[in-house]
Assembly symmetry: C2
Homo-oligomer: 313 residues x 2
């Protein structure tokens, strides 16, 4: 079983480490046959990245001929490229795809899933939502529910900022701290304006409601000019809430009371509530971090090796 890793930043490095350190029987015949970044393709498995060839990801796919592509590159929300073309090309050849990159799925879920179905290949994407905390994969063990609504805190950057603001910092101070700690990017626009959370609730909606929506169908509002003083005075907190039911899907800030489970979901923790005809359950865990994202992809790999598919496919 040959893997090709795409992207080799902190997540890619953590993934490689998990692959080497975790002694799991499923991994016995798995090896990294290639690692590709914007700098080119390395045709061996070593920690330091030294490109052997100056090729792009699609050329790398031809070169490596892997059984599984693991995409851990950063997201391009305008077009989803080059990842989108890579997935379609791989899936058409029967190559499975595991990804931590939500842009292609938030933009073109239907096209990607249908390509996988019609070619008998698989796409796994736990780490696109809540990183290594089961959100997508939770659906595997909750079969045949009639989901009524889902609701969550899906962006760690804004949740960290809102948490620190509730502790007295200004928005700018909180953002600066988040950047220093590596919780926010240098250009934090897509986190702050709710777009990242919108991408995630798009993917969750598609899975939990067996739907085909795109991020362009989702209304979103961020925390750019947020005022939290009045909520604090009432003993409440402001959280950036992502919500979906059968009729609507949106992201917007909301006032959360002490009795709400989401009240205690602070810092870079994320949470997802699923309300179905059976019950309401909530899962909470870290929504970001290189090891967490890497574990999301790693857990997908193990499930893939166990022969699983996305339920319903």
């Amino acid at each position: 079983m040959k893997l090709m890793l795409v992207g080799y930043g902190n997540v890619g490095k953590a993934f490689r480490k998990l692959l080497h350190e975790k002694k799991v029987k499923e991994l016995e015949n798995v090896k990294i046959a290639g690692i590709v970044t914007t700098r080119g393709l390395m045709l061996k498995d070593q920690e330091e990245f030294v490109p052997d060839k100056k090729v792009d990801v699609l050329e790398a796919l031809d070169e490596v001929q892997p059984d599984v592509v693991v995409d851990m590159a950063s997201a391009n929300y305008k077009t989803g490229e080059p990842s989108l073309s890579l997935y379609l090309s791989a899936l058409k050849r029967g190559i499975h795809v595991i990804t931590t990159n939500k842009a292609p799925l938030a933009l073109k879920y239907k096209e990607i899933i249908n390509t996988a179905i019609s070619h008998g290949s698989k796409i796994f994407f736990q780490a696109t939502v809540m990183s290594g905390t089961p959100s997508i994969n939770l659906y595997r063990i909750l079969p045949a529910m009639k989901v009524r609504k889902i609701r969550g805190i899906l962006n760690g950057t804004t949740n960290y900022i809102l948490t620190r603001m509730s502790q007295g910092l200004s928005f700018n101070e909180a953002l600066k701290e988040a950047q220093e700690l590596g919780y926010a990017e240098r250009d934090p626009t897509l986190d702050i304006n709710g777009f990242d959370a919108a991408g995630k609730i798009t993917i969750l909606s598609n899975v939990y409601f067996s739907r085909y929506i795109s991020i362009n169908d989702v209304k979103f509002e961020g925390i750019g000019n947020i005022e939290i003083g009045d909520a604090l005075k009432r003993g409440n907190k402001i959280k950036l809430i992502a919500y979906a039911d059968e009729k609507e899907t949106y992201v917007k800030p909301a006032e959360i009371t002490k009795e709400d489970f989401l009240y205690n979901v602070d810092g870079v923790n994320n949470a997802l509530e699923i309300e179905s005809d059976i019950q309401k359950i909530t899962i909470v865990g870290p929504g970001a971090g290189p090891l967490n994202a890497a574990y999301g992809a790693f857990s997908d790999l193990i499930l893939l090796l166990r022969g699983e598919n996305l339920p319903g496919l």
Copy 2:
């Protein structure tokens, strides 16, 4: 695929309803071939129980020759019987077992699992802990973690009583109310004294630490003479906490602060925290109720039909 249901109280009836109402492709060739209770065996699938033969569960197994036994009978903690003998007998013949009854697994986990392994049959038991809220099955989607500790609220009856006490009721008033609402049994001893939670943390320890312990190895303390006044004055709550790490496994009441996720787990809700080398995650959901327990068994059936086994087996 022939099922034999054991026990036909509220859980059994809810399970049968799910089986008939949920349109899932996995269930296409599944039918109930027999239902057995202490009153005898009914050899057809109908809502009203009318025994056809006066036989016990072991004789019923011979009679029905099912592919899967679904045990939803109430627990006998002294010996685990007659369910324990039924599981061993079924597993030895290659008949799979799904159970909501925790007594046999809390008493004889090793013997049951080893019987399944050596005969290539399967035992699924999600509903023994947290009912339909994934606790056992959560482990399926968290492969290759190194679990450091698990901690939770695993008994709905005591959590309901403690919740109502924190709202001003006396222990006896809260217990009476719980009984009237069907959250506590007429003899609530095994809930109140922590034994039920001890059985659940035993099963979780065996799964999450790949261990073989019995409920007899677990220290437990209940809420019989609990005093919650001082904790309330400090703004805290008392919760009955089940805990396990690699060294110890116990159940005892503990004071929980506002910052703790478990603080907001009230009423008949249960919660489970899992701390591993990767991350700390928490799942919260109802821990009791006929539909919930039935769904736990039903979700096991679907996973079984998808070809899954308990991870590690």
